[in-house]
Amino acid sequence: MRTAIQIILTALALVTVASGAPAHAADSVDPVADANAFQKYFTAKFPKLKLSDFVNGPYSMNEDMHRQWVEKEEFPPYDFALDAGKEMFEKPFKNGKSYADCFANGGIGVRQNYPYFDEKEGKVVTLELALNRCREANGEAPFSYVKDDMASLTAYMAFTSRGKPFDIKIPNDPRALAAFENGKEYFYTRRGQLNFSCASCHVQNPGQRIRAEILAPALGILNAMPIYRSEWGGMGTISRRFVTCNTQTRGVPLEPQSDEYRDLEYYLSYVSNGLPISGPGARP
């Protein structure tokens, strides 16, 4: 064990030395330039893919898997969640109101606008958070952010937005820019005993295998959420995805909908602006 710890400390020390290099882009906040660079990086890395194909994650990276995806979509495993979500969405609360009363356009076709920066609160509001706030405002208990009910609801709302491009806005508010930058920092920060950042897998190694899985590109990764994962044997929300990623690096995950995760979702969604919502999705 001591040897393992020494190896980790050495690796960390090397990373620290490497970080001595100047990083100009990270020192100023420019979301538009970041999104352009982000999309350019992935399209250059995978020149055969259309921009909109990135929303299909690992299924766009490999021909065999793409064929599997086409077949899967005939009888998609998220269908049950979709039906359950529609039923839940339409069922009134005990006070007679419903989810439709909490959202613009009755909650139909609005997924592409989440998360947004709430200038009153000074924080990012995700769709999952908005759904639970809606429930609580109407006297209902909030759902778990990582379990089936929340996944079903967001699956239905994503389905009503399918094909609509992500349209995340960053208002001219220093707090919104800070939230974007915090999300970016979280995305690129190495954590956990394995010393992985989100970018280690989803920027530096998309299309590569990690054990039996093909890593998805970060570009468009949230467009397909929520997802049915064969590995989970069920549906998973964005919160569940973040928590699982942290745990897999042997890091203690943060609480779902913590400020860091909300900012991370804001950053990742913004840099995928223009790519269509494809959720709910299915993944191996």
Partner: protein, 105 residues
């Protein structure tokens, strides 16, 4: 007597004394001190929002061993937890700047 044999004459009894001294088993007090140090380091990692799951496991193992009265094992696990917690603190502090090197430009 050569210099070599004189050295041997002085050193041998010392080794004999050391070998005869029993290795002291760890006590509950040793465990509590080791655990407190590990817990403090892990709390520092928590304040930096960067705890590791393996640290929590080592702390649990330390407590279990202490509850079972195996203080040698408990102290060893607590020290392992402390080393892991310190590594996670180091990681969090170095990443405050290091993340910038990974950004797509």
């Amino acid at each position: 007597m050569t210099i070599f044999s004189r050295k041997l004459t002085v050193t041998l009894p010392l080794f004999t004394m050391l070998a005869a001294t029993p290795v002291l088993a760890a006590t509950d007090t040793d465990f509590k001190a080791a655990y407190a140090a590990a817990d403090a380091a892990n709390k520092e990692a928590g304040a930096l929002r960067n705890q590791w799951t393996v640290t929590a496991t080592a702390l649990t193992n330390a407590k279990k061993a202490a509850d079972a009265g195996d203080f040698d094992k408990a102290v060893a696990a607590a020290k392992e937890a402390e080393a892991l917690a310190k590594a996670s603190v180091f990681q969090a502090k170095s990443e405050k700047e290091a993340w910038k090197a990974e950004v797509i430009h």
